[in-house]
Amino acid sequence: MGLQPINPYKRYIMVTVKINGKEITVEDNTLILDAARDAGYEIPTFCYQADLMGIGSCRMCLVEIEGQKKLQPSCVTPVLHGISILTETPTVMSARASMLEFLLANHAMDCPVCDKGGECELQDMVYKYGPHKGRHAEPKFKFHEKDYALSPVIIKNSNRCVQCMKCVRVCREVVGRNVLGALGRGDHQEPTSFFRSFLDCDADGNCIEVCPVGCFMRLPYRYKTRPWDLKGADTICPYCATGCRMVIEHRDGEVIRARAQLGVGMNSETLCARGRFGYEIINSEARLTTPLVRRQRHGTLEPATWEEAFRIIKERMPSLGGNTVGGIAGARLATEELYLFQKLMREVFKTPNVDSGSRWDAAAVEGFIAATDMAEGGVSVFDCMEADTVFVIGSQVSEENPVTEYIIRRISAGRRMNVIIAGPRAMKLDSSANLLLRHYPAAEAALLSAVILDINAAKLAASADLTAAKDAKLDGHLKAAGLTIDDVRALATKLRNSESIAIMAGTEFLRYPHGIESLNLLKELLRSLGKKVRVMPLLDRSNQRGAWEMGVHPAFGPGYVKAPAPGLGISGMLDAAADNSMDALYIAGADPAALYPDEAHVKEALSKVRFLVVQDIFLTETARLADVVLPGASFAEKDGMLTNQEGRAQIIRKLLPPPGKAKVDLDIIRALGEMYDRSFGPKNAALVLDEIRRAQPMYADVSLAFNNKRNVDNKLDNKAALVKGTKAALTIRKFEQAASGQDAQYPFMLATGNHLFHSGRLTNYSKTLNDLMKGMTVEISEEDALASGLAAGERVLVSGAGFSVTLMLTVKKGTKRGVAFIAENFDAAPVNRFFRKGKGAPRVKITKA
């Protein structure tokens, strides 16, 4: 099967089989279906899907094997050496037609009103394989009269079901929610939720995507169009750095569907709720459609022409800015735009102050890049999943990168391997893990240091003094992390016993950078023990890696080449601004006012910048403080390239023009540059890409070739798209752990990150996603809820030093005691108000509201 990871320790035996007389050689145990498809013969299927366990139930794929009386299901039957398979005999063809006849017997036959009409696999197959005359003249069994909603995004009509069970299997095997199953038996069997109840699930709609017929349907898309009236563009989901391939489609200028395709992209047919239902932000009424300028100091932002906006910028933004000018670009811009952005800052404004993102400290970023080997080129997640042990740390991957999580779940279920998860909060992927370490927030450093000590114990045991010192240190680490020695030993043993290890390191290392050094140390230590170690970053912004690789960072330029004179990162620029020494700041696609940890500080700093230009697609918290606001374009409105967390460069295509007078960000940046320097360029995305390829060895021969074809083989890992390695001199700075001491008054440590249904603040403009969320929440462990007499669903007051907010309580089984979580995505509950610059994880208390 295409998805089985190649195991280097397994010997591959090749066998020769005949398919319709054609002799082919395939790996032993290949399914007949795969072998036949390889040989170029088409075999229709409903229930088969490469990434799901075969059940062989639809019987569409029956083939003849010479010498066997019965037809065999090719989707679950492996080849045997020497067999002769016939896939196109009259018997096989009549079996196919008869299966379709059976499926149609109880099928609703309501194609004229079915959303799936026109792209329905049942329609296509009946058209192709017959029968073209119906013989069924008995009353049909009906599951129900009216369609019923299963969730705010799923509506169901069981009368159209072909019982392939892909919905149930994708929910269980890939998504891991396991909320679908079948009711009844025989022709009354109905795959649905528990007694058709309303689902409380991840709402990712993968059940809809895998449904071959119109049984599971998108509720927001319902009755809006016929598939042939849609115009689509291939793109990448912009909501995390997993980099899922998808197609967005519009009718009459309104984007009404995002869908993934089987075998296309590393995600194949899967997406999460954000990707599949978050497209509404493109159509949002709140989009910026015209430049806004503040004509008087302390005045309001008023619509203006591009000429006026640019004139004001030219007047107030000194071209030879040097250290008093800075630029911050968001990690959701395309790679070409980010490249041009840093070029604009460095070459036109002559400033080294350039950074990307709103949350991470520049020095932390540099260390993280070094610790995760990003400069050494892309690391495919599929390669990581071939390791003996996968160690996920510093990421709530089930919520931050749902599709990466699907891949971990799916592959780890199919082979013997360790999945180790370290993190303060319980998550869905825990069920795939064979070791869980629940540590306090911001305690990655302590956990990793303890493991390093344990792995090194043999070396240290030689000297009694060292052992004593080690024990004392170990105790300190264990206490800081809230772990026991057994937890750490279990982890150390698993690492020691593995030959290959993949570490997936998440953004907690950027939020609390003192863990970076330990991460790097562990990596080096394991390598010194002769282990094959791969590190893959888990990032939460679609083009974060692209931004760094394009040199949107004060310490290095494109390709991680050290900048001649390092400039200020975001923290430095904000500090300087607070000191009244920033003349101008150009922020494109970033929202530090909403996301920088320490809201008071960032707002004060931004208001003291003498001239603030913000370019975005919505009037963000930051844009409200700007002197000039430039309307940019969303991912649906531009051509470009995004680099995902693995270092996979992928292209996005323009579907629609930007709304109103808004412009593509690349054009805005270039026009700005041209205002100061007529030769600033290159002039379009393709030329910028050429320049990147020339200037940046990592991208020199990355293949962006993309074949949008339904690919039944599921060969998802396109290694040609991974960026290449480069030589980079990056330093890992030592960070002091910010004290986050015990405080009886504030018993909870506050953790933050992305909500499953949101990415940054952008997705707040999607009505569907907001509806799914059912309000803003704070999450604590079950034990804490019991101990404090609080129940899930209750309104609670979360108060920290200086800020308090009322939220709904959610309770999670398995989360570390003493940990509270508030997502960073809520406009009305800005979690960054709890944080203080340089103070570590804040402490809060939770009481009944």
Partner: protein, 418 residues
Amino acid sequence: MEKILLKNLNNPDAHKIDVYIKGGGYKAFEAALKLQPDNIIQMVKDSGLRGRGGAGFSTGLKWSFIPKDPTIKKYLCCNADEGEPDTFKDRGIMDWDPHLLIEGMLISSYAFGASASYVYIRGEFAFGAKRVQAAINEAYAKRFLGKNILGTGFNHDMYIHCGFGAYICGEETALLESIEGLRAQPRKKPPFPALAGLYGKPTVINNVETLACIPAIIERGPKWFSSIGPEKSPGPKIFGVSGHVKKPGLYELPMGTTLRDLIYNHCGGMLTAKPLKAVIPGGVSAPMFTAKDLDTPLDFDSVAAKGSMLGSGAVIVMDESTCIVKMAHIINRFFSHESCGKCTPCRDGSPWVTNILSRLEHGDGRPGDVELLESLCTNIFGRTFCPLADGAVMALRGAMKNFREEFLYHEKHKRCMV
């Protein structure tokens, strides 16, 4: 003939362990514990015992597929999900002689090294389940079950698992799914249960009657067993006779007894003066025989040679007053109702067939119905995931082969011939 399997059928206290032991019970188990496990497997192989659940696969051979590695946990499952209409042979053993079953299971478990066994009992057999559970409790008390059984170091636990009313659980892999707490649907094979069965471990699934044969084989030797009945399928066999005979009931007879002998000698002949019209030799999925086939010996091979199957040994006798279309409808209604829903031909094909038969039976036949039925049979047979729908098709095909004119009469005249 001496009764082996049903010897305690008329002994009201045989379900009590003391009575059972007094009658020589558990002797065979004690003897088996002194033998090498491999020898027991060889003895069962030599005896020629074939599975009594219907397929007639060699029991000793089935056991020998189990890996010998002692570090791997192994299971024995007893298939007591006797749910087919007119089949009632296993409940006789469970209700009246549960210790015979337990002893058989213990010997089998010891032979291939199973550390636990499950008796999967049809949910409707509440009395049988109660009896078997009580017997298991008694066996634990007497140290025939549990840790270090009779001081030999052999450990074994036994559980009962009651079904919930699904005939498909009699299919061995669906039975495993059901024990595991999953939806009872057949699993794909390979892997066969002998390698990856219950909870992914090597598992043997045997019928109640098969296991009940084991103690006698140990006690009296394989030669004795194979001397009963024909060479290829020897041994005693329980026949559950129902229908238009004077004395329906359970009959333990040697394999190879002819149908005529069974019906006219043992069962006392036809119920009334009406002559025999048809007889189903092995459960409702077996194609019907007519009066001309009455001299067929009832053993696996002879019945198969005549185009039917011995199956579970449920013999259903029908006289001239029986409408074959009605019979076919009842049988197909059962199978389509019991279809698990997994594969297309069974799920959507069987109810279609049943609907047509229902119309024929109720005077609403349409021209072409019989032809359509034959075509549907072709489309279903051999293309399903498990043999459930095959059974329905075989029964219907058998009926249509021998009594086609009745079906055509129903189609044309919209009423019954008889």
